[in-house]
Symmetry: C2
Subunit: 304 residues, 2 copies
């Protein structure tokens, strides 16, 4: 079951964090772009090659430190087919190096189309990731096809409950006549949807997304869906701190996995690391930051 | 502006409908699959080739009859890269034949990633469609990057308000403390988000999705967002009739565009057409059904 594989990797690395592989042309060090442009093809082919080389070096640097990576599909689709080729190669390379891969696609559609996305991302064909982020707006029949795939292929989903962005409350915080917020209602549904996929650690392969930027709400949402593993974006660059992610964890020290993207990918430019690493050493800087983040989270978790 | 180009095409064809290009392996006639398998490559390469050939023949058959096609991205992503290649070729071929292309991707993410999807689908790079369907769950900062692209590149979006599937009410029909349903609140936001993209016909390039399967709600939603063009899925195979789509239109006979996918793609298997067309003639059957649907909708619109 996906969730048990994830928890095993988290325990093995003693690190409940995930590195976002979200390349953008402006993030890629010049020496990699130059190398990529030296080969044949149009500008997007070169960017796609640069994306993969950038990811490959980061994966090499962090594969023994983190349990999991999360490529953001928007970054790859932004440049069309060469981007999707880079995505596919990244997924394969990460898995070959023992990492689990969560495709961050926030996919959603009515039943038959949701089946298509499930086939593409979390079955053992096509892009074949270990898990996928999913949007709940269409209700259960937009979720069930994913849950069925999770069951058959031992993969997972993380359903958006409360997202990390500033305007997430515009819909998610609205209060229903029942007294709950929309996000709380979604959390209750996530708990229900994951009921048949609970593994040996008492967590479900149907997880949730709750932004690090809303710790008060995280506490409530955590209680509503006790079996959901929570993927927590918004740590680092978006402003979430090690303290702010604590409410997403349970007292067993499990229950959440914290994502950082820009703070790892661009560690060599950060205030902490820029004096120690050049752009050519971006992957070493990414490793240093991944270790720092691990230690910071593990220390914070002692307060649970 | 996208919306004015769409309305011009609708007037020119006298047809407010859109054909869904949602290929699945089981939809493709055997002679096309055989032809595709005869070339080199893995099984998915063959399916991707078959998808494009299937779409190409349908486009040839309907290009003078309908204003617009809507490829469902899930169908293409289901088979990975060969699917996305078929998608790209389909978009180009449809546009070359004068059709507008709405990518049905229901994309959504926080600001910087939404920019990535906008770049991928509705800017003049990468997949470069004319419009994209978008999910509103993340609020305005998941929408604004798309709206900015629409403004710069003269493209459009259709934001999910009320989807056509049976469980759409699980979230969308929930009543808020304000008295509105979630879908009604979203409709109000859509009206607001589209304010700066209203064209010469008094409609906005920020449109909405409202399923044909919920006509009573469509009437309310239509009133809440008077300037939104409504993309109406669920006609035909999902059970929506010509009468049920009327509430989505305004008295000017404009304001909505009705999608049919399976009833067109599989017309040669339908009760209406199966005695007149063989599988080899699927495209001619698709044309016959597209004409029948046009006439049915145009007749129904006389009741407005």
């Amino acid at each position: 079951m996906f969730i048990d594989r994830l928890i095993e990797k988290i325990k093995q690395t003693n690190n409940p964090s995930v590195v976002g592989l979200d390349p953008r042309p402006e993030f890629i060090p010049e020496h990699i772009l130059q190398q990529a442009r030296a080969q044949e093809g149009n500008p997007f082919d070169a960017i796609g090659r640069a994306f993969f080389e950038f990811n490959r070096q980061i994966i090499d640097a962090i594969a023994d430190v983190v349990p999991c990576v999360k490529p953001q599909l928007a970054c790859y689709e932004a440049i069309g087919l060469p981007g999707m080729l880079a995505f596919e190669k990244t997924v394969r390379y990460a898995q070959k190096n023992g990492l689990l891969v969560i495709a961050d696609g926030k996919r959603n559609d009515i039943g038959s189309s949701a089946e298509g996305y499930a086939q593409g991302f979390i079955e053992n064909t096509a892009f074949a990731c270990d898990a996928l982020t999913v949007n709940p707006y269409l209700g259960v029949d937009g979720i069930e096809p994913f849950v069925n795939s999770c069951n058959t292929y031992r993969t997972g989903i993380f359903v958006l409950a409360k997202t990390s962005n500033p305007s997430s409350g515009q819909l998610q915080d609205l209060l229903l006549q029942s007294g709950e917020s929309v996000a709380e209602k979604v959390a209750a549904l996530i708990n229900e949807w994951g009921h048949n996929l609970i593994g040996i650690n008492n967590y479900s392969s149907v997880g949730a997304v709750v932004g690090a930027t809303y710790p008060e709400q995280a506490e409530k949402l955590r209680a509503i869906m006790p079996h959901a593993y929570i993927l927590v974006p918004g740590y680092g660059a978006q402003g979430g701190s090690a303290k702010s992610i604590l409410p997403n964890f349970n007292r067993d020290g499990l229950g959440a996995i914290v994502n950082a993207s820009r703070s790892i990918m661009l560690a060599h430019k950060s205030a902490i690391w820029r004096n120690q690493f050049t752009a050519v050493q971006f992957a070493a800087a990414a490793r240093a930051e991944a270790l720092r983040m691990r230690d910071e989270i593990v220390l914070a978790l002692e307060e649970l």
